[in-house]
């Protein structure tokens, strides 16, 4: 079931194209990662979905029908640039935002009660925001985002600015909300968290959509058919046996008689072919495929080079 669909979105700011014909679909109940380097257009897209700005071209659909103004009440938004009214008390503040999202006073009161107890922060209610630490303020911000139980949660860089402990709390909350059926879209630079929480991703660079799909599909797409083989025997013999059908990408001696080699399959060869080739010369102890990490995929998509090449470039640059 589709949750959100953006179709052919174009957005320009005084001559600069921020989004160029972007189309994305997210499913109900999944966590969708919107990835891209700074300035790629993620925030522009998020603002369009939140109806903060309008697109120049294209349309946005929520649960199959065109997005309308009242839909903002079913969306929760945690912007990257976040803040609260410093002079307002925590309780008043959360109430204000809850009511802006369409909750009645009594509903809001009940929900505030629940969340404050959950985060064990009931004692903060009468404190002014300026008296809170940054981490405390961020918790409040998170509560404000989810209090009205939105169907769609949009989190722009949700982990930035949180300390590891709070980031973990937020991560757990996000997963719990997912379990309850909330659809979540999050933009982040933190590729580890993408691997951990996202079901699908879209990668945007220079206003254009580069990659889209479920995490599995994307990894499949970026698969290099490289395997790590651990074996007992001589590395020399192993390397010779590979000949021109395989390429030895990397090798490492574990101890005197054991080594690990990263081998890429060439010319349509299969893992079976590889094993047939090396079994006569070494004793294979283990094999597993090296799948690209999201970090690799990100770097490769954005720079057009593999993560290894990029790090080599960097080293070269440093040596100069």
């Amino acid at each position: 079931m589709e949750m959100l669909r953006v179709e052919n979105i174009v957005k320009e700011y005084s001559g600069h194209r921020a989004l160029d014909d972007i189309s994305i679909t997210t499913k109900k109940g999944e966590i969708f990662g919107l990835l891209g380097p700074n300035g790629a257009g993620k925030t522009s897209l998020i603002r369009i979905i939140n109806q903060i700005t309008g697109p120049d071209e294209g349309k946005v659909y929520l649960e199959g029908r065109e997005l309308k103004r009242s839909d903002i009440e079913s969306i929760g938004y945690l912007p990257e640039e976040r803040g609260l009214y410093k002079k307002m008390t925590v309780g008043d503040q959360v109430m204000y935002f809850a009511r802006l999202k369409g909750l009645s006073k009594s509903e809001a009161k009940k929900k505030i009660e629940e969340w404050f107890e959950k985060f064990d922060i009931s004692s903060w209610r009468d404190k002014k925001v300026e008296e809170l630490s940054k981490g405390m303020a961020q918790k409040i911000q998170f509560i404000i985002t989810v209090l009205h139980e939105p169907k769609l949660l949009i989190l722009d860089e949700p982990f930035s600015g949180f300390d590891p402990i709070n980031a973990d709390i937020i991560k757990k909350e996000i997963l719990q909300l997912k379990k309850k059926g909330t659809s979540i879209m999050l933009s982040t630079h933190n590729m580890n968290s993408v691997e951990e929480v996202c079901d699908s991703i879209a990668l945007i660079n220079h206003a254009k959509l580069l990659v889209e799909g479920s995490l599995k599909e994307v990894k499949e797409q970026f698969r290099t058919h490289t395997y790590a083989i651990q074996f007992k025997g001589m590395m020399f013999g192993f390397a010779n046996a590979l000949f021109s059908n395989f390429s030895l990408e990397h090798s490492e001696q574990i101890d005197e008689e054991r080594a690990v080699a990263h081998v890429k399959l060439l010319k349509g060869n299969t893992l079976n072919d590889l094993l047939k080739t090396v079994l006569p010369v070494v004793e294979v102890e283990g094999v597993n495929e090296i799948l690209p990490t999201m970090n690799d995929i990100f770097i490769q998509s954005v720079t057009g080079k593999s993560a290894v090449e990029t790090s080599q470039d960097k080293k070269g640059g440093e040596n100069e």
Partner: protein, 438 residues
């Protein structure tokens, strides 16, 4: 409650609950009351009673000075036939006198009266003494020339000059004085515009710099947020104004009944006169009755106050939009100082024009100023108070004002929604105009 209602509620209550608002709202009228009270109090204290010894060997004054029934004289006259010189002033029997004045036959012809004092009298006391003696000497002179006292007093009565509009005869013209009252309103509107439009600018900037704005605009339209803020701050202004009026009225009544009950009204009147410098006195209403008449009869207070409110609201809506643009375009308080210049220049210009048209409420500057929407809220009230403006002129200026603030608010909304989400740098006016075209 609608969303704009929620925004108004938050903006209004957060401002009204502020200590600075409470303090200012209560302090200003109390301060005014205290100052007024202090002025009267010190005025009374200052009135040391002087004993004036008139040395009149030729008995010109016949040891008589006319003192009216309701007067509260700051000095008492005593007379002696003895001719006094510098050596006499320290004499034991004359030590009680504060001022010595010598009068002789030649005083009347050479028109010089000389006197000495131990302690300098106040301007008010000095004027009282000279007035009384002058009148007495003039009476002597008149009698000397064979004129009866009645005749003399009749001649002495000053003329009250009444200049009337050719189309509006029958009513005494106090146009200039009435315009001065309107001028007071002009200044008040100017100050209110600056204060409250300035608050809009700071409020916008505060939301922008604290980054709270993006969360809000994901729930309400930027235009709703801006309008909510503008309306709420306008209401704060009206609240403050209302409280001031109520408090001032209470304080004035209080001061009058508690402190001034046993004070001779004439003393206050004398003080009032004393505060008006001689040259200006001529341009002021002929006497206190005229002032009272001006205040109580010739100024149409209900009309003026109603128009004050209408023009304040109109002018505020116009300038608040412009100030909101500045707040949205700036990235810090210091940025606003530069960006505000194009908005402040017309406002300051209008303020100075409002001085220049004093006494000329029908000149081209006043007529244009009262129609151009950027200046009409400040200029029009002067003309209304002066009574030189027709109904249709007010109607046209209000229509123009309303039309303009609709346009400026619309434009401000466009700039605002782009500006509030531009973090990290100040926008130039060039960029602001670009945003307008979006």
């Amino acid at each position: 409650m609608s969303k704009i209602g929620l925004v108004i509620g938050r903006e209004y209550s957060s401002r009204v609950k502020k200590k600075s608002f409470v303090v200012l709202t209560i302090l200003v009228p109390v301060l005014f009351g205290l100052l007024g009270f202090a002025a009267i109090w010190f005025g009374m204290k200052e009135q040391k009673h002087f004993k004036v010894l008139v040395s009149d060997p030729d008995d010109i004054t016949k040891a008589k000075i006319f003192i009216g029934q309701n007067e509260n004289p700051p000095a008492t006259f005593y007379f002696t036939g003895e001719e006094l010189g510098p050596e006499d002033y320290e004499r034991e029997d004359l030590k009680e006198y504060d001022i010595f004045i010598g009068i002789g036959k030649n005083t009347v012809t050479n028109k010089i009266i000389r006197g000495v004092y131990r302690e300098e009298p106040s301007l008010n006391t000095e004027r009282y003494i000279t007035n009384k003696l002058e009148t007495r000497l003039e009476e002597y002179w008149a009698l000397d020339k064979g004129m009866s006292l009645e005749k003399y007093r009749e001649i002495k009565q000053s003329f009250r000059f009444v200049l009337t509009d050719i189309e509006d005869q029958g009513e005494a013209d106090t146009r200039a004085e009435r315009q001065a009252v309107g001028f007071g309103f002009s200044v008040l509107i100017f100050v209110f515009l600056m204060v409250y439009a300035g608050q809009v600018m700071r409020g916008v900037l505060e939301e922008k710099t604290s980054r709270v704005v993006e969360i809000i605009v994901s729930s309400v339209k930027p235009f709703q947020l801006m309008m909510g803020k503008i309306i709420a701050i306008g209401l704060v202004g009206l609240t403050q104004f209302l409280i001031w009026i109520i408090l001032l009225t209470i304080i004035m009544i209080g001061v009058q009944s508690f402190f001034l009950a046993d004070i001779d009204p004439a003393a206050i009147q004398a003080m009032g006169e004393a505060q008006i410098p001689g040259e200006l006195a001529g341009s002021m209403p002929g006497n206190d009755n005229a002032a009272a008449q001006l205040i109580f009869e010739q100024i149409n207070w209900p009309l003026l106050l109603t128009l004050f409110l209408i023009y304040f609201i109109g002018g505020y809506l116009l300038y608040a939009g412009l100030f909101a643009i500045v707040g949205a375009a700036a990235d810090s308080e210091t940025d606003t100082q530069q960006l505000i210049i194009p908005v402040m220049i017309p406002l300051m210009f209008v303020y100075f024009v409002s001085f220049s048209i004093l006494g000329n409420p029908d000149g081209p500057a006043a007529i244009w100023g009262s129609q151009i929407p950027f200046s009409s809220p400040i200029i029009m009230l002067q003309r209304v108070a002066a009574g030189t403006v027709s109904v249709w002129e007010v109607v046209i200026s209000l229509i123009l004002l309303a039309g303009t603030f609709v346009v400026t608010t619309y434009l401000a909304g466009k700039v605002y929604r782009t500006g509030i989400l531009m973090y990290g740098k100040k926008a130039s006016w060039k960029e602001i105009f670009k945003w307008l075209r979006h």
